[in-house]
Amino acid sequence: MDLATLLPFIVNVIVGGLVLGFVYAIIALGYTMVYGVLQLINFAHSEVFVTGAIVGYEVFRVLAPNPMNGYLKLLLALLAAMTVSGVLNVLIERLAYRPLRNAPRLVPLITAIGVSLILQDVLRVIEGFQGRFDLTYILPESFGTRFCAAQSSCAALGNVLRTIGIDLQVKDVILIVVALLSLGGLNYLVNRTRLGKAIRAVAQDRVTAGLMGIDADRMISMTFLIGGALGGISGVLFGLKVGTVNAYSGFDPGIVAFTAAVLGGIGSIPGAVLGGLVLGVIQNLIGVTNIFGQILGSANLQAIDASYQRIGAFLVLVLILIFKPTGLLGKSNVEKV
């Protein structure tokens, strides 16, 4: 196989991984926010995110006959998903986690699992009443077209991209842009604002934060609101990318995203993003290892195909954590005793 075919292939695989990685990254942010303040693996986040995806689906479905601009629809879908998921997340915290603030850490973990199970069936029932199970996004036509297709003004750019193997659809670009915007916004919020500092203080010591005049419960609610809104965004992005969701689709991406959060250093915002991207790319590269195996003539490599994608990523995680026990960007806290 010559370089001319191989290069676009590799680029393609990597870009595909990156696009996917952005979705993981935004989901991961939702986990990492909540983990940051409560040290809780919020197992229900996957359903918060699916709720966002379903809300997004409903918005696009209801607006399908409407001739309005596709981007406006997307905006509405995003806003609706952010609101619903955000509020849902706050409610979950109120009802299922807050009463357990002082219980051993694993107790809210179990209620999180319980909430996750409840939400799955609730979502299924809601859609089931309308005879639906798998929900397929009805997206504006234009989203499916190739980015910088021949007829548009940026055809030249599109051609260049495609020659090196980057073949994106408009919706992929939308996805990346939305993801970057949310990321930037969140980073600003957490690191630059008073609110962010307060959240971080609460994350470390709720009681002392109270002594600083910070209402810890409110900050925790805010965190769940933000985390939920991110879940909503990621839900819509997931719908955009994959096209079909159902009440149970959250579990898988949820696990991967949480892994991404851990890989990046749990609690770290840039870490979650880096983790998502790295995981996306690694998964894809492992998925094509057998091709390299063919090229290199190695039978062992050839045996590694897409069925190893997920666990390959886990093994990479193990390796990274062995050398960097607090994740890629996690602060390695030398303990002061």
């Binding site: 307060a198 470390q204 009681v207 109270g210 002594l211 600083m212 005049g213 810890a216 002061k336």
Partner: protein
């Protein structure tokens, strides 16, 4: 909120000495079934330094926690500036102008020194004011300036103690609760700390409730003092008088 704090800090003259700033009456506080405060009564007048001394486990820390809202008393009331603040959550009490330097320092380990200070000024919204106060803190504790970017948790014990005090001062409180501020500080610094306490009281008019093991130094700067024993007030009165008390000297000052 922050505005109030500002005004108040410069306006201590408004209040008269007759109305106590803080009044605890018949306060009972529990840890589970452990009865830590058993009907505590005490007052702090505006502009005073009041020392609270007592042996290990006497309930000094619990008293401060009950005032600042970290704990709720089961019985009794805490009146601050004429208002009943019993059982209010800590953050609202703090917004009324009470700062608490807690036992064990409780520095935000993962925040830098500067961020710790900024969080201390959470209720202050004006960025310029915050910056001013950060500089004031640095002036008081030069070590903190040297370590502006270091994570709070990696500071040495004494450095953390400085940070905890500086952090509580960020809001310019009207009432400052200090729980063993000299613990873990070098002798040189212990003196400095007591200096700072006195200056705060004199120059800014900050009222101070001081818990100290170093009773002789505490009594030296305090106006009045209470002696606490197993959750009850054993003795109270002007500081000099308490310092002379035979039993106190024996029990807490280590005099043979």
């Amino acid at each position: 909120m922050p505005e109030q704090v500002m005004v108040a800090s410069s306006g201590q003259a408004v209040r008269t000495a007759e109305t106590p700033m803080l009044e605890l009456s018949d306060v009972h506080t529990y840890y589970g079934h452990i009865h830590a405060l058993k009907g505590l009564n005490m007052t702090v007048n505006p502009g005073e330094i009041v020392a609270l001394i007592g042996g290990n486990g006497a309930g000094k820390t619990t008293t401060l926690r009950t005032i600042s809202g970290m704990m709720k008393p089961k019985v009794g009331s805490v009146i601050y500036e004429g208002q009943n603040i019993t059982g209010l959550p800590a953050h609202t009490i703090m917004q009324r102008g009470i700062s608490h330097v807690p036992e064990g320092r409780r520095i935000f380990a993962q925040l830098s020194v500067r961020e710790n200070l900024e969080v201390g000024a959470y209720t202050v919204t004006d960025r310029r004011v915050i910056e001013e106060r950060v500089q004031e803190a640095f002036a008081l504790f030069p070590r903190l300036k040297e370590r502006e970017g270091q994570l709070g948790g990696t500071m040495s014990g004494g450095e953390q103690q400085m940070l905890a005090i500086a952090r509580a001062l960020m809001v310019n409180p009207r009432l400052l609760l200090l729980d063993e501020p000299s613990m873990g500080l070098s002798p040189l610094f212990v003196e400095a700390i007591f200096d700072i306490i006195e200056r705060l009281n004199k120059e800014r008019g900050t009222t101070i409730l001081l818990v100290e093991q170093n009773a002789s130094m505490a009594l030296a700067i305090a106006n009045r003092a209470y002696v606490l024993q197993t959750g009850e007030i054993r003795l109270s009165g002007p500081a000099e008088q308490i310092a002379q008390d035979e039993s106190v000297r024996k029990a807490y000052l280590g005099d043979e």
